[in-house]
Symmetry: C2
Subunit: 410 residues, 2 copies
């Protein structure tokens, strides 16, 4: 027997279905299921009440994220599979959302103070939290898997090595790193390549942790960690490197970043940028910018070139590692899920769900190519230390080892 409540709920479900298209996901509000369920569904979205459903119809991106976090929206079945089904049909979002998008981008501008606030939001959550699900070295950027089976620990080590090889680091050279996380790469470069590193970061918790590591490892005389904004980098250095910071710089500061790099390495140095990018200019989803990464922007290659071209940096090599980021995130999500109870106890279940959605959604983004991961190697116009081919990245003993790294570690 159909009550008037049922009729309204069904009409709303049909509205939601219309905007989603025929994705193989079952929709349900309260105890009401949509009239025509698509065949071979990969899972269900269960919406607690009509109010939540209404918010989904008005602002799908934020409402889905916030509803999932609060528990008002639940997903039955594999979260990644359900998100993949949703995203693969749903690439355009309406004009109203895009406007809101721009408004948010404005309020989260990366002035010096703004950057500090934005970075604090994400990276100062507590080192203990990240320890629960990152690798032992605490590398919170895309790993490099010489073979998909090598496991996360090896893949993070292989990534750091790949960066050093792409830059052809030589003992005695000086390197400046902009945005150094918990210091793993800076320490890796000093330890294994004999360079001197100056590493910048504005996250207080990360810098404290990195300094302690350098001291413990006896590397404090070769790696200096500086709690300061990348825009205060001066020079001269032989090499500029930045892994996973460009996403936090913001398009409006690209010229400042270009000037900073030029100040650091001039016309003779080499440089490296590793960043989440896009296949064309696109904002992050509103929810990601509101809840996860305030002030973040992932540029297309065309946009990123506006950092390098004004100073005539010569781009030597660009590699897209988006498949490696999907796999990295699968490792993180697996570890996160295994540590789920600990996260809930420390941060509450709303936070735990929110974070789970962010990790699962990112897997889908890199799988489908709405997110890309670019590594860009460049050199000043007077630089004459350019490798002849890229074969040295692959024909080396260390990389051959990749094969033997295939292990149970994950």
């Amino acid at each position: 027997m159909s009550t008037s409540e049922d009729i309204v709920a069904r009409a709303m479900l049909q509205g939601l279905r219309k905007s989603l298209g025929p994705v193989p996901v079952r929709l349900q509000v309260g105890s009401t299921t949509e009239p025509n369920v698509p065949p071979e569904c990969v899972g269900s979205i269960r919406i607690a009440d009509r109010r939540t459903l209404a918010s989904l119809l008005i602002a799908p991106e934020t409402a889905f994220g916030d509803g999932f976090s609060s528990g008002a929206i639940r997903v039955d079945g594999d979260l990644v599979a359900v998100l993949e089904a949703l995203y693969s049909r749903h690439s355009k979002y309406p004009a109203a959302l895009r406007m809101l998008s721009r408004w948010l981008a404005w309020t989260q501008g990366n002035t010096f103070a703004g950057s500090r606030r934005n970075i604090h939001h994400h990276y100062d959550l507590s080192n203990e939290f990240y320890k629960l699900w990152l690798d032992q070295q605490m590398v919170y950027t895309c790993a490099y898997f010489p073979d998909a089976r090598v496991g996360l620990e090896n893949a993070q080590r292989a990534k750091m090595d790949l960066v050093c090889r792409k830059l052809c680091l030589k003992p005695g050279e000086t390197v400046v790193e902009a945005g150094c996380g918990w210091g793993s790469l800076a320490l890796h470069m000093a330890r294994n390549y004999g360079v001197r590193v100056t590493a910048f970061n504005i996250s207080h918790e990360q810098i404290a942790y990195a300094r302690e590591r350098a001291w413990r490892e006896g590397l404090a005389d070769r790696v200096e960690f500086i709690e300061d904004d990348y825009r205060n980098v001066s020079g001269p250095y032989d090499v500029f490197v930045s892994v996973g910071m460009l996403e936090h710089v913001g398009l409006r500061n690209f010229d400042r970043l270009g000037e900073t790099i030029y100040r650091a390495i001039g016309e003779k140095g080499r440089g490296f940028l590793h960043f989440i990018g896009r296949d064309r200019p696109t904002e992050f989803s509103v929810w990601i910018r509101k809840r996860i990464f305030p002030g973040a922007y992932a540029p297309s290659i065309g946009e990123a070139m506006s950092i390098l071209e004004p100073h005539r940096f010569s781009v030597l090599d660009i590699e897209n590692l988006r498949q490696h980021y999907a796999l990295t995130l699968e490792h993180w999500l697996g570890r996160f899920d295994r540590a789920y109870e600990a996260v809930v106890q420390k941060f509450g279940s709303e936070f735990a769900r929110m974070w789970r959605l962010y990790l699962a959604g990112s897997i889908v983004g890199f799988r489908l190519g709405t997110l890309q991961l670019f590594q860009v190697v460049f050199a000043g116009r007077e630089c004459r230390q350019i490798p002849w081919t890229r074969a040295h990245l692959y024909n080396d003993d260390e990389q051959q080892l990749g094969k033997s790294w295939i292990s149970a570690t994950s």
Copy 2:
């Protein structure tokens, strides 16, 4: 004893010296040498008369090229070394030249008819001419030297293989090539990778030659050569490839090229662009566009992205091979010089000198980085055949062979 003629000539030489800066090249007009010759000169520029010298002061780029071609300007010493000395100090040219630049770009626009005229100017000079100094397979684009000593023949073969590997060509796939030269790559792909190729070119002489080769090799059923504009490419194909054509497309036609590629491979295909590029947006020298490559433009990576980003092509790999182009050109210039008398007999000494200047100047451009050579691999947003790493480009038997190719061939 100083005549009034000497005084004028010396003053003019001093003017030229002022605009050149302290480059280690001796300047001379008629029998008058400049008063203060820089130390350790790599060569001399001998200018026949004051009229030629005046033209050098007014429009250095065209006057130098035309004067060198006519014989009114002669260079003593190694031509490449002298040009390298000039270019390395002389990167900016005055506003007046840039205006002329724009005017030329306009008159040489790449409409369908314009392209045909521009391409005819360069590529229909006669196959016999190019046979004098290209490799046996007639590949007129940057070669790839796995080792600098492998020689030109091997390096052109290695380049064609590199392109095929970067695209992961599989037997039975269909490939469309835009701008196929004398057909070497199209034939190489069909012969060695089992693909079917449709190859476009608007140079009548080249297409005739390519068809004849396909027929002779028994590949005419697998490679179709079409004398038509790239803008008439339709589809569908699995793969789009273009080696050394983008330079002739012109910035204003980049959107058309993007549409053509999208029409050819849609959202599931793969693509490849190999082109002379820049570290930032810059026109070719006026002389090059006037005498050598009418209508040509070498884009920066940022500019080239305007072809791919509107269609959400995902950039997988960009490699800069500019050092390989400098070496390729050294081989060409060496062969050209050995065939010099034959060129003079057939085309006259003005043409021979002009062509020599173009080859020598290009060596310098690629050495100094005013010219770059980019290979871009990309894929449609729905393409799921993306190689996991780039190791397959280097760890293969064929590439290992590179080592054994080191031979006397050059």
